[in-house]
Point group: none
Chain length 199, copies 4
Amino acid sequence: MGQRGRQKGSVGVKSKEAILTIAAEEFAEHGFHETKISTIVKKAGLTQPSFYLYFSSKEAIFQELIHTFHHKLIHLTKNSRIEPNLDKNILASKIARGLISIFKFFDDHRHLTKIGFFIADEAEEIKRGMVAHITENLLAEQQDKYFRQDLNMQIVAECIIGAIERLTITKLFTNESTPQQLANEIVDIYLYGLQNTES
Amino acid sequence: MGQRGRQKGSVGVKSKEAILTIAAEEFAEHGFHETKISTIVKKAGLTQPSFYLYFSSKEAIFQELIHTFHHKLIHLTKNSRIEPNLDKNILASKIARGLISIFKFFDDHRHLTKIGFFIADEAEEIKRGMVAHITENLLAEQQDKYFRQDLNMQIVAECIIGAIERLTITKLFTNESTPQQLANEIVDIYLYGLQNTES
Amino acid sequence: MGQRGRQKGSVGVKSKEAILTIAAEEFAEHGFHETKISTIVKKAGLTQPSFYLYFSSKEAIFQELIHTFHHKLIHLTKNSRIEPNLDKNILASKIARGLISIFKFFDDHRHLTKIGFFIADEAEEIKRGMVAHITENLLAEQQDKYFRQDLNMQIVAECIIGAIERLTITKLFTNESTPQQLANEIVDIYLYGLQNTES
Amino acid sequence: MGQRGRQKGSVGVKSKEAILTIAAEEFAEHGFHETKISTIVKKAGLTQPSFYLYFSSKEAIFQELIHTFHHKLIHLTKNSRIEPNLDKNILASKIARGLISIFKFFDDHRHLTKIGFFIADEAEEIKRGMVAHITENLLAEQQDKYFRQDLNMQIVAECIIGAIERLTITKLFTNESTPQQLANEIVDIYLYGLQNTES
DNA sequence: CATGAATGAGGATTCATTCAT
DNA sequence: AATGAATGAATCCTCATTCAT
């Protein structure tokens, strides 16, 4: 069928993706309200009505971007459950690996991350999800005696998310640190603490 | 009679303060753009032109709130430099005391905190200031051998600010934890780390 | 009566005059709409309600200034009727004298002139009055054979007013010419024309 | 069918021109401040946002009208340089022809003229340009001995512009005189003066 | 004579969104 | 698949003017 390959939808798909990409940029840089549909379509070489061919509203495309971010993030964390029975040295690197994958993901999707992790109202909920996930992991490891028994792991998880948040903005997105470096620093700090045990 | 005589201008002052209070509430809850001047003045029992009697624009009052927050915050952290020559136990409680005062301050000024620490574009800068301050303190203590020599204290500071940020939103503002509890948890986590040293 | 001279009204009179003077300046410089009552009273060291102690509205003070201008102008032109039976040389200087008095008057009341002769809607009417007056004079002199019989004196009068208007703005108010100079130039041009009668 | 095919954009052009025409009317009649965008668009059968489809602000459309006037005026005066070597009778009719074209232009563009020659702040500058142009012409003719040597031609030019100004308002726009009549009267007055040379 | 405080009324401008083609 | 044209619905802001003291 259709040997002349009037590749149905390909143009539209391209337009839609152009809009999505540019919108992500704009939202990430200027926030929701300061981003104008007019600007997006202009940058995409389209007109305003075309926008509504692909998205039902400004709110809708914003949600779509958030959803994409959230979806990818969930997918990412799905496989990161730490297997039991590993010795302490390996634990550290396991944790580091998890953090690396998060930072890498953020690094690879800067605009989406800005939107879904920092700008959106839903960011709070997304973080809550991550905190829950991390808490679970930590609890398991706590149970396995890798971690101190007297710690409130939910609070720990919040601290880690907070750290990730900050470092993403100030170190990762400024290109001052790599995912690896950041992950290692976090592991080092949280695992062993600040206290000087020498002397 | 009235021992304070002809309270010149007191009415206007009251109106201005009413506007400020309500504006803080609104901005904190709805953000800059979703906050309407009309709503603010209505809640203050005034009309729109009155607003402009006290503030030159919506932007201006927002800035004033940010400034107030920043100003108070700076004032707070001014006295918090840790004195040298204290043993380790005291150090912990010293640090805790600093954190308590921050959480207390945030707790006492929830709206301002939401605005100046979470909503404003300037929040980033304000946090940067706090990070710098904390970094300084940490470095001094590191020099005094209280802390491990191999840690990048700026990164540590970022982690702490991130933790404060998160815990403020999820534990403090939800009334799930007190400033004391949060401060203690942070000290415990960051000073000693997660690692189980028993066994 | 009243040896203590609580000069009744003197303060008010002073305030009113201050307002009038400043208002004239402002209207002259910025026109009606761009002149704000708030600016006037500020410059007069008063508050807005005080303004309404002396003038019923912005429109009212503007009218008062126009009226003052018009009144003075009418007073000026009342005595300027040219007496009959003068020879041609004297005629020229008579006319010049009339023009000098007008230019002097404009020069002495620059703000009022700007308002009443250039800014006000009523300026048109005021000019019409002057044209009528000049026309009358010219007609008398035409009847006395001093002027050409074939000229439409109303048109001539319009031309003279037009000349006065322009020269007031471009030469008088810029201090490039004195009333005398301008009057002489006008007399010279209009009496003898441009045409070179030599050769 | 339809020899001009798919008239792309013709509707928008029509709307823009409608707005321009009506705006010229309104500005001419009521001045800048008393002219409301709401009135303009209402008369054009449009809504307020449509106005901003074609003009960026009220100030902008006003400037556009002024510019149009100025542009046309400059175009008009470009060809009006008087060629040398003409005898006196022809000179008069040459000058008359120039004046006719000006009055005709003003007559054909009453609204624009009101705006650009009487209402706009830029009117002064526009007149200055005309004065300069006229002065140049007069000087050339003076050099060629057509005009008296003792006259300050800039002042003469100012007088002529003043005359044009006045006569435009009082005779042309009231339909009391035609461009031809006005031009002839001016030539007559300025060339030969008022003085009765008979007797 | 004067003012601190307040407001009614309106006006320009913006932006997401839609209609007809 | 796309667009020229248009708009509904707000929002910020301004200014002359007034009231109570």
